[in-house]
């Protein structure tokens, strides 16, 4: 034990920010609308993301209605169906998950958890949100544009994406989508700079990297990845815009559309796929790593036990982040690229399973000999592990190049990525909201409604996507508004599809209960107090709850220990706050 004597502690002056005045907003506008307070920006990000997320959720119901009961709803034409899946996918991945994890949780948690008063560039941070909002509005606008939104699939593969055979291809749809993406990337980069530099520069005295909670590690690494991966999408979008608007031939080969020769020539559709997936694969980990980090803290806190193998967890996060830049072509095994790439990318892809596995083991081993409080955040964390392991393992089918050949572009893939991305991280988001809501509002979310929400969402979502794997295994391709009764389907899949649809509707409506709970508890929730979960990390040690602009009172906290001192032998409580000098003097906020 390298212990520093209290004397030595006290000589260190608390890091002080010169004009705390800066943190007193002057008008209602600067307080709630054009606020530069990361916490307000976080709420704005989350609200917008959840709102647009609900749109995507409704779209998923419409898709499911079509798949479950084909022909029943004649307003869902094939065009409409493709527009639905495209918007659904794009919104969910980028405008909901990425924005909510990095823009929402990143903004709220990073400054609080590393002991900073705010992000380092508050003004840029504010701009980031408004540009994101603009991107969302442009996206929504495409629903009302003539011809409707694009139906090119969220992967936007050319040539199809910008041709007349695809909804929105020759109308405004695809253009608005590309513009919206470009805006999103600009806005995100502004925010991302803040998240990264705040972790680099804003940490409180004593908050060494290895004392940071894994939540910060996850969001930090994900942001770094995003900053390096989004440019690929940016480049792809710009080049596609050129092809579509100015008639260049970056991606467009010579082709005959509906019998007429087009002026394009020589371009390479594969080039687009490389650019897209060079962004696309890191992206899926960008939405996974924050979930990894957050869930680690949920488990540790509610099991009253330090996260098992903290160092391995950190290394695994960084390792996964790095590796995920060299596996992108596993989305292109059957794209017609050079077959020998298959050997390389199958190997790298399966190697990623190892660091991920370590994380899974360490979560489970944290439960071992813990003191497990089955609170709602804990329940969601457990559900996350189940669904993530399930979805991750099906990833190994797809990663193993030759096994991917029959499964690629079938509903098996859809089932895989929903289980691992559409369910697991979403469950973490829910858990995280139940966990931090008391800090954000000062009140607890309603327990009974929470229980209901948890059980329906967990069991329901599993019931949606587990059977879906077998629909794919039978051979049903994805992006088919209806499969009919082709000979290869030995056992009819209609009833299975119908069941999935019903489950999806049930789960979907359970989300409304959750939203109600969110609103209702703001006024009617039980008073939470400063640290209801008796957690160690800094955000729970603020002098006021909800924390004011500037987060901490006059003095910034000094950090004396890592984030996981739970159930330390000989300690008088089963947790020791990070800013507790361990000299008997209670940490601020707990008093």
């Amino acid at each position: 034990m390298v212990d520093v004597t209290p004397g030595a502690v006290d000589v260190i002056p608390p890091a002080e920010v010169p004009e705390v005045e800066l943190y007193h907003p002057h008008s209602w506008w600067t307080k709630y609308v054009f606020s530069q307070d990361a916490k307000v920006i976080a709420i704005q990000y989350s609200g917008t993301a959840i709102a647009i997320g609900m749109v995507a959720l409704v779209l998923s119901w419409l898709m499911r209605l079509q798949l479950g009961f084909p022909g029943t709803f004649d307003f869902i034409t094939p065009e409409a169906y493709y527009q639905f899946i495209t918007m659904h996918g794009m919104i969910m991945v980028i405008y909901l998950l990425t924005a909510l994890f990095l823009g929402g949780f990143g903004n709220y948690l990073i400054p609080l958890m590393v002991g900073a008063r705010d992000m380092v560039f508050p003004y840029v941070n504010m701009l980031s949100y408004w540009i994101y909002l603009l991107a969302v509005l442009v996206l929504v606008a495409s629903f009302f544009a003539p011809g409707g939104p694009t139906g090119a699939g969220w992967t936007l593969y050319p040539p199809q994406a910008i041709l007349g055979g695809t909804p929105g291809g020759q109308q405004a749809g695809i253009i608005l989508m590309l513009v919206s993406l470009i805006l999103f990337i600009i806005g995100f980069t502004m925010g991302g700079l803040n998240y990264v530099v705040t972790v680099l520069q804003g940490r409180a005295r004593g908050m060494t990297l290895m004392r940071m909670p894994l939540t910060v590690w996850g969001i930090f690494t994900a942001t770094v990845m995003a900053l390096l991966a989004f440019p690929a999408l940016f480049v792809a979008s710009v080049m596609m815009l050129f092809d579509r608007v100015l008639g260049t031939s970056f991606f467009m080969p010579a082709l005959v559309e509906m019998g007429e020769q087009l002026s394009y020539g020589g371009g390479s559709p594969i080039l687009f796929q490389h650019l897209f997936w060079f962004f696309g694969h890191p992206e899926v980990y960008i939405v996974a790593l924050p979930a990894f980090g957050i869930v680690s803290d949920l488990i540790s806190t509610h099991a009253r036990k330090n996260i098992f193998g903290y160092r391995m967890m950190v290394w695994a996060i960084v390792g996964i982040g790095a590796l995920s830049f060299i596996v992108w072509a596993h989305h292109m095994y059957v794209s017609g690229m050079h077959p020998y790439f298959g050997f390389f990318f199958a190997t790298t892809t399966l190697i990623i399973a190892v660091p991920t596995a370590i994380k899974v083991y360490n979560w489970v081993l944290t439960l071992w000999r813990g003191d497990i409080h089955l609170t709602i955040p804990m329940l969601f964390a457990l559900a996350f592990i189940v669904t993530f392991v399930n979805g991750g393992l099906t990833g190994l089918f797809l990663g193993n190049v030759v096994v991917d050949v029959p499964l690629s572009d079938t509903m098996f893939v859809v089932a895989h990525f929903h289980m691992v991305m559409g369910v697991a991280p979403i469950l973490v988001i829910f858990g995280a909201i139940y966990h931090w809501y008391p800090k954000i509002t000062g009140r607890m979310l309603n327990e009974a409604l929470g229980q209901f929400h948890f059980w329906v969402t967990f069991v329901g979502a599993y019931a949606i996507f587990f059977p879906m794997h077998y629909v794919g295994l039978v051979g049903v391709p994805r992006r088919y508004p209806e499969i009919g009764e082709p000979a290869f389907i030995t056992a009819p899949v209609e009833n299975l599809n119908a069941f999935i649809t019903v489950a999806a509707l049930v789960v979907g409506f359970a989300q409304l209960v959750f939203l109600f709970n969110l609103i209702w508890s703001i006024w009617n929730g039980r008073e939470a107090g400063g640290n209801p979960w008796r957690a160690t990390t800094l955000e729970w040690q603020t002098s006021e709850t909800p924390p004011p602009h500037g987060n901490f009172g006059k003095e910034l906290p000094i950090v004396y220990r890592w984030a996981y001192d739970y159930s330390v032998p000989g300690a008088k409580e089963d947790f020791i706050a990070q800013n507790d000098p361990g000299t008997g003097r209670p940490a601020t906020g707990l008093a």
């Binding site: 390298v2 502690v9 560039f121 700079l193 804003g202 060494t208 290895m210 650019l275 004396y560 220990r561």
Partner: protein
Amino acid sequence: MSVILVFLLVIAGIAGWWLLNQGVMSKPWLEHGPAGALPEIDVTGMPTAKIGLGVFLAVVGCLFALFASAYFMRMELSDWQPLPIPRLLWLNTGVLVLSSVALQCAVVAARRGQIDMVRLGLVTSGFTTLAFLAGQLAAWRELSASGYLLVSNPANSFFYMITGMHGLHIVGGLVALARTTAGAWGKYSPDRLRLSVELCAMYWHFLLFVWLAVFVLLAGWAADFIDICRQLLT
């Protein structure tokens, strides 16, 4: 994708080196006390703005590395006809170098506290940069006048797109430069001024570097160089 992979390798190298110096091998649960067992690895003393700009430049570098990757992949295909590089670009390059030099002088002057030298440097670099942009536009018009239109060949498309992208970044820089210049005449404290000037210089040098890389790329030397390497290897 080789260019971007090499670029990321460099980034990864830097990140890894930094992480190791941050004691990612240490056992945090054994360390108590304000700075942990490794006090010296507390937050760096470097000005935050510089680190911020550094990170941003990494992103910009990533962007252009990706354009280069796309350029090489598209170049492989049959319909590619390299376009003649306008002479004017040499002049533009010189001008851009000048503006970087001017800013560097401004930095030195700012460190010495010679305010009017700083102003001189800022203004010169401002005008030379504008000259550069004008030169680029002229080069575009020259090309399109002699029939090298945006759509007529992918090589042309890339030329206009990449130079345009670079130009846009310069324009963004000009905004910052304008504010700094205003500050140099107005209310900026010497320290504040020094910092802003240093930031501008940093950005300018980087964009100059990017421009040289782009030039080498568009002139086709990069490709030749790679071919030579290939031959050496085989």
